[in-house]
Amino acid sequence: MMVRVPSPRAVFVDYPVGRTFGRPGASEQHERVLADALACLGSFTVTGQIIDLPHQWEPGGSRLWEAALTKDFLG
């Protein structure tokens, strides 16, 4: 979606949609994601560029959350 609707500067966090900064109550995680996103500010050179942050929803990189998210969306 970010590719199709470009913004001047965009950072992508590969977390489930609606949980951009992390898990509920995980204030340190929220701050880390925001700080990492803001740290990219000087790295953008052109409109539409997207920088991927390295954060993963599950520590081991599991993608099982995708099935749960699909169930939330589609019932």
């Binding site: 609707v5 470009p6 949609v17 609606g18 994601v33 925001l34 700080a35």
Partner: protein, 156 residues
């Protein structure tokens, strides 16, 4: 590979056609003119969050916005966005509206400051003309008046 949200949204919309993704006519670009540690920052999110005392966001077709205090101690927030993905955000709005995190970064000196309020509106609406011609200029005016150097938009 990132999760394919567009396919999922299309499946959810069926048998209606998938949502149209409409790029803005003129993406804005402003050069970075000072270090982050000297910038005053604001948050924008389309999660339809408001202070409990403010008027509720209508369920659809609304291009209004609310100013919400940037003080994390103002905790009586409501989320009017009717989304299937909102379960966690209703438990902790900070996951889409990181007001406390931003204030903490400012207190640590990583960010120069925070505007007195943040700006919130409804996502997932189809009022493309109103968004570009009415809402966006109004938000830009608010940000300018608040002395914001940087706006962080969190889509929802």
């Amino acid at each position: 590979m990132p999760f394919d949200y567009l396919s999922m949204m299309a499946r959810r919309a069926a048998p209606n056609p998938p949502r149209e993704l409409k790029p803005v006519s003129k993406p804005a670009w402003q050069p970075v003119s000072k270090p982050l540690s000297e910038m005053r920052a604001a948050l924008l999110t389309s999660a339809a969050i408001r202070e409990a005392s403010q008027p509720k966001f209508p369920s659809a077709g609304d291009a209004s916005y609310r100013q919400v205090s940037s003080d994390p101690k103002v905790t009586d927030l409501k989320i009017d966005h009717r989304s299937h993905i909102g379960t966690d955000a209703r438990r902790d709005p900070e996951i889409v509206f990181p007001r406390t995190a931003l204030m903490s970064l400012a207190e640590r000196g990583l960010v120069g400051g925070v505007t007195p309020f943040h700006l919130l509106f409804v996502g997932g609406i189809r009022l493309y003309r109103e968004l570009e011609e009415d809402l966006a200029p109004a938000l830009a005016g608010e940000l300018s008046q608040a002395g914001a150097d940087l706006a962080v938009f969190i889509p929802y």
